[in-house]
């Protein structure tokens, strides 16, 4: 974190150097070690282009509208937020000049009054000066009921926004909400003088050719093929060092990898090199391939309102009957990491002392016996009229998951549990079936954190069970009063150390309750041509281009 206004945007080069140095060992593949990451210096003027291969097409260019991760690739390059989050999870100023805290008076002691100081040297791509009015407009637009906003959590608590001066803005929160700081790292500021002048921001021309403050300006889009952004020479922060940043849309993973091999694309972002291509990618000449721990956790996700899963003994027995090592090593080429928690390993809040999973069929049987689940004539256990039988669903066509399902099905069968596989097309799976908890169990990769904040109210608080009239994404219908209370406390607490204690405890309880059965934490395989410097993977953001301003060809 820096308070120097000259380097306050995202990251300065020195800052990036420090981060690279500190985290290289943890984040980068061994083949990068041993050579200095920043051996070259960036060019004086932007030169060259970098083509990023993406497997989904970026189509949403208004950063406040419903979007997917690939759209964020564009938003991070064209726009700025008030703050950015580094790959170490540290929030640094971007359009703001400092990160408000209770210590520096930016946030009041009760967490309700917020004051943000802004840079005075930022211009929109059309030359207009960026001011506090833009921030006010953005925050108000998000909660405008007529505007098709992406997500409103946190923003809907903001009241009485006041522009004190062009470089200072204040507001009051309806209740203390510490995660909001993280949310603001994903809230890109849009120009009031352009969007505000449009009658219907949902249909504005801006949405098709956005104007931001970012390191790259809108270039041109060839629908279905590519999107070109061009360097913004007036960018207030570091860089950009390349003339063009291009996203090329290649929907098929195999074809995408082929184009990486043939050199048609320069950089492949998150998860776009599939695990089975890792070995081949690593051995390509003139390519750098990194393994980066991801935020999403693969698990057998349980619907706890199903009578089969209500008893902890059953969940524990099922967990014991998961041969996780074989799944990771054989099916996933040994790339993912073992985990016992929903918290990403790279997070400051990660609990590394949780009980380690054990694959033990004998113990699993014993637990079920003791709990009174006796095998019936068909070998399947039952208790009080409930058979230990359930469906497991995932999206059709995910072949690795389908193999894992079949494998799990066998080991479950060995302890007298029947798991039927019932897979569905993605469009069906992710509708009410998932959102309204109509599944028995699912094999899914779930990201639990929003913008790297440890708050998991949305996933684990009982008020977040939509199927029971709540508001949120607790589709497993997990409910534990102690966790509820801790989550409420965590959201009110601004002190990092205090929050850490709270979320460590949350992880302990959830590890004990086993509302879902963790299989592994994903690892992303990222590849790029040798010679691209300044690339810093950051799984705390939704985009590999979170700091494309720092990229250059050596």
């Amino acid at each position: 974190m820096t308070n120097n206004p000259k380097t306050g945007s995202g990251l300065s080069r020195r800052n990036a150097l420090g981060i690279m140095g500190a985290s290289a060992a943890a984040l980068l593949a061994p083949n990068l070690l041993g050579k200095p990451a920043f051996a070259q210096t960036p060019p004086d003027a932007p030169s060259g282009r970098i083509i990023v291969g993406v497997s989904q097409e970026p189509t949403v260019f208004n950063p406040l509208m419903p979007k997917i991760e690939v759209d964020d690739n564009v938003h991070f390059s064209v726009f700025d937020a008030l703050f950015r989050i580094t790959e170490e999870g540290v929030i640094v100023p971007n359009l703001a000049t400092e990160v408000p805290t209770q210590e520096n008076g930016g946030i009041s002691e009760d967490g309700l009054q917020w004051r943000i100081r802004l840079r005075d040297d930022v211009r929109w791509h059309d030359g207009e000066l960026f001011t506090a009015e833009d921030v006010k407009f953005t925050l108000e637009l998000i909660v405008n009921p007529d505007f098709r906003a992406w997500r409103t959590t946190g923003h809907n608590l903001v009241r009485d926004i006041e522009v004190v001066s062009p470089t200072e803005i204040t507001w009051r929160m309806e209740e203390p909400f510490a995660p909001y700081m993280s949310f603001l790292t994903e809230t890109f500021i849009v120009p009031a003088h352009i969007l505000g002048a449009d009658d219907n921001p949902n249909e504005a021309a801006f949405n098709r050719a956005p104007i931001g403050t970012g390191a790259f300006r809108w270039g041109q889009r060839t629908a279905g093929d590519n999107l070109t952004l061009v360097a913004n020479p007036d960018y207030f922060g570091e860089g950009p060092y390349i003339e063009e940043l291009i996203f090329r849309y290649i929907p098929d993973m195999t074809v995408l990898f082929t184009q990486f091999q043939s050199g048609a694309i320069d950089l492949v972002g998150r998860a776009y090199i599939t695990q089975d291509n890792y070995e081949a990618a690593r051995n390509l000449p003139d390519r750098v391939v990194d393994l980066v721990p991801a935020t999403s956790i693969e698990s057998i996700y349980l619907n706890l309102e199903r009578p089969q899963f209500k008893e902890r003994a059953v969940r524990e027995a099922l967990y014991l009957a998961l041969d996780r090592d074989s799944i990771v090593d054989v099916l996933y080429y040994g790339l993912p990491n073992q985990t016992e928690t929903f918290m990403p390993r790279q997070s400051y809040y990660y609990h590394d002392g949780l009980p380690t999973h054990e694959f033990n069929l004998e113990k699993a049987r014993q637990i079920l016996d003791e709990a009174g689940w006796a095998p019936g004539s068909d070998g399947i256990r039952a208790k009080d009229g409930v058979r230990l039988s359930f469906n497991n669903s995932t999206t059709t066509g995910a072949h690795l998951r389908e193999q894992a399902q079949q494998f799990v099905q066998q080991t479950f069968r060995d302890i007298g549990v029947e798991m039927n596989i019932e897979n569905l097309p993605a469009a069906v799976m992710w509708g009410d079936f998932w959102g309204m908890s109509q599944f028995d169990s699912a094999m899914v990769g779930v990201t639990y954190l929003i913008a790297a904040d440890p708050d998991v109210t949305n996933r684990f608080h009982s008020v977040a069970i939509t199927a029971q009239g709540g508001r949120g994404s607790n589709t497993g219908q997990y409910s534990n009063p102690e966790v509820d209370a801790l989550l409420e406390e965590g959201a009110r607490t601004f002190d990092r150390e205090q929050r850490r204690e709270i979320y460590l405890r949350v992880q302990e309880i959830i590890r004990d309750d086993l509302p879902y059965l963790p299989l592994f934490a994903y690892t992303q395989v990222m590849g790029r041509k040798a010679g691209i410097e300044g690339f810093v993977p950051n799984t705390n953001t939704r985009s590999e281009t979170w700091h494309a301003a720092g990229w250059y060809w050596a």
Partner: protein, 312 residues
């Protein structure tokens, strides 16, 4: 003629109703893609669905869409934010380029193979052509595509592995270089189809009385074939062309995917994947109109060319 036109319109309405209902019956919907976003709640999804008008009864949505269509408004893409016609327009030219060149290759080579196969029946050429056509029809296009990329792009380095052009070089030569492999791969299947149909049509024509007459009159064999046989054999091919014409504009899904060609086939697949109802319906209507129109035109042309046929 008027009766045929009316039939076509009724058909279009039926297609649109079935398409609309089936599309909306698929569970999930356009907002399912946000299901795993940790920050987006079911509430958010319900709110956005209401803003998009998806919470209205299906028949209201249909009538709204249909009245828009009648006024030339095909709706706005949920995903892209652009009018449906703009979205479709942006992909049509890529498809036309690919399918057009593939068709030129297929028709010229396929016709030649068909005629030669028929006039040299049971020759080794005919056997090779027959077996070749069977292979081209039985092996999936994506296999040819991937083998092509492996051999000619990765191993030999002769052709690019995909895309319409190299970024930074939008010259005609660059487009052509990129066009060759996908159009040849796509043409393989069409050569097979055209050659088989042409062979059958030529054989049919050869057995006609007027051919025997021409030969009896001492007309040179080459002239008999070119004037009497080929001319008549091409007639049924007009119908085949009519059937194939819509695909010129609706694209070839597999080839477009393998060669990352930004055409209509891929647009359709993408739009279906995101349940982008307005675009899917737009593409459905586009292709229905083309199919009906092409068949209509083919019938008219055949009737004009062949006086024995009269349109009902």
């Amino acid at each position: 003629m008027f009766g045929r036109l009316l039939q076509s319109l009724v058909l279009l309405v039926i297609v649109s109703i079935i398409g609309f209902v089936v599309l909306n019956l698929i569970p999930g919907g356009p907002l399912a893609q946000y299901a795993l976003d940790p920050g987006m709640t079911q509430d958010d999804r319900i709110r956005i669905a209401a803003q998009l008008g998806l919470d209205r009864p299906l028949w209201v949505q249909y009538l709204d869409w249909a009245s828009g269509m009648l006024q030339g408004d095909w709706g706005t893409s949920f995903r892209d934010g652009n009018p449906v016609l703009t979205v479709i327009g942006r992909h049509v030219y890529a498809t036309l380029l690919l399918m057009g060149s593939a068709t030129v290759i297929a028709v010229s080579i396929g016709t030649w193979i068909g005629i030669r196969g028929a006039t040299h029946r049971y020759s080794s050429f005919d056997y090779v052509a027959t077996v070749g056509a069977m292979i081209a029809l039985s092996i999936p296009t994506f296999w040819f595509g991937l083998i092509g990329i492996y051999v000619f792009s990765l191993r030999l380095g002769w052709f690019p592995a995909g895309n319409m052009y190299t970024i930074g070089d939008a010259s005609v030569m660059n487009y052509l270089h990129h066009l060759i492999m996908p159009s040849v791969v796509l043409a393989l299947v069409h050569i097979a189809i055209w050659s088989r149909f042409m062979r059958a049509a030529t054989l049919d024509a050869i057995s006609q009385e007027f051919v025997k007459t021409a030969r009896a009159k001492g007309v040179p064999e080459r002239r008999v074939i070119m004037k009497h046989v080929v001319g008549n054999a091409l007639l049924p091919m007009i119908t085949l062309a009519g059937v194939q014409l819509p695909s010129l504009l609706t694209g070839a899904l597999v080839t477009e995917t393998v060669f990352t060609w930004p055409g209509m086939g891929r647009l359709f697949l993408d739009s279906l994947g995101y349940s982008d109802y307005p675009v899917v319906m737009g593409l459905l209507m586009f292709s229905a109109i083309l199919t009906i129109a092409a068949n209509f035109v083919a019938d008219v042309v055949v009737a004009l060319v062949d006086p024995r046929i009269r349109l009902a």
